[in-house]
Symmetry: C2
Subunit: 192 residues, 2 copies
DNA sequence: ATTTTATATTGACCGCGGTCAATTATTGAG
DNA sequence: CTCAATAATTGACCGCGGTCAATATAAAAT
């Protein structure tokens, strides 16, 4: 029979996560080195990989947590009454997802809307986004010929498309907002 | 004044590309190792990086070439008269883009590349896709309230969304086709 | 032909993610 | 408490992408 998790294990893991967050606050996600994390946490390199299958898994955890926090806050707002309001409510999330090129890459890779069989924190968050969006989009001023789940998936697809353009040198956040608005107007409010 | 490119340079580059294609045909894109490519090409490792900024650049080149070839063939067909036909004509491209998870990752990473000056083959191909799609979608049986360029961008966004789901363990190609059809019906033919 | 300059190639070396056999700590059973 | 079983930790080591000062080769200048 399986033994209980040792207290030590939880402490080590917590120290690793704390150290990682500290490192990220100093050098960004892209600048994080596992070597430096374990040094700060006061453990050996192997210990890191006993707690996380790979570096990506740590990133998944940390980014997923950030995204969940943002979603929690956004979730409380009243349903949007226009695509502009919808885009506004999405912006905090999109801003984080595009804060670094590396962040966007990792998120895409783990979105499950992008490419993983096992469901991690980021994939879970993408699922939450769909649920939340679907909820907010029902009974709004938007098209009602298709179900709100499909509507939500479309919003996500267009959001990804719009974010990808942020990393084309010439675009900035204003473009992101404007472009997404154009997409969502066409997607959510076709002429009836 | 700039000197002409040496014949030797072109030969070396050609040998590297040929070797890479051979390796890929044996072990797939994901299995390619630079070490093995240079060994086959009969050059030193450093030579590879004198010809390509990094491994990704080689992948960009090879995958972009494949995608261009596929697009060339698909481009000749008559314009689709339904979303089903449109999806059919997209399938060869989507099939290649999802042939390996690694391939899809690389393509996503390069699809909206960095600076205009350093736009690569894959990014170019994504541009071609938009142009070709926009062309085929004009004067078709699809919605005409928005311009065909926007229409095409939406198709691309939904195609990416649909492809991403291929890598969630439970989905297969049938799902890709079916899912994309649902998306594009909603996008291209909203009830008027 | 010889020197000078630009370009191509080389391979030892580095950084960093990830592995694993050996070691140490924890726990439950007698 | 002792001891065997299990779990956690360690750090030397590996694979592989990428760098760079040294070297070799080609092309232009004399």
């Amino acid at each position: 029979m399986a033994r209980a998790v040792q207290k030590r294990t939880l402490e080590t893991r917590a120290r690793l996560v704390a150290a990682a967050e500290k490192v990220i606050s100093e050098v960004g996600y892209d600048g994080l080195r596992v070597e430096q994390v374990v040094q700060r946490a006061g453990v050996a390199k192997g210990t890191f990989f006993a707690h996380f299958p790979d570096k990506d898994a740590l990133m998944d955890l940390l980014m997923g947590a950030r995204m969940d926090a943002i979603l929690d806050e956004v979730g409380h707002r009243p349903p949007p009454r226009s695509t502009a309001e919808l885009v506004d409510s999405l912006m905090p999330l999109l801003r984080f997802m595009t804060c670094e090129r590396y962040v966007f890459d990792v998120i895409l890779r783990h979105s499950g809307a992008a490419a993983r069989s096992e469901i991690g924190p980021i994939a879970m968050n993408f699922g939450r986004q769909i649920d939340l969006l679907a909820d907010k989009l029902t009974n709004g001023p938007f098209r009602s010929d298709i179900d709100s789940g499909l509507l939500a998936e479309g919003v996500q697809a267009f959001a990804v498309q719009a974010m990808a353009l942020v990393f084309c040198a010439l675009h900035n956040e204003t473009d992101l907002r404007a472009r997404l608005t154009v997409y969502l107007d066409a997607w959510l409010m076709p002429p009836r």
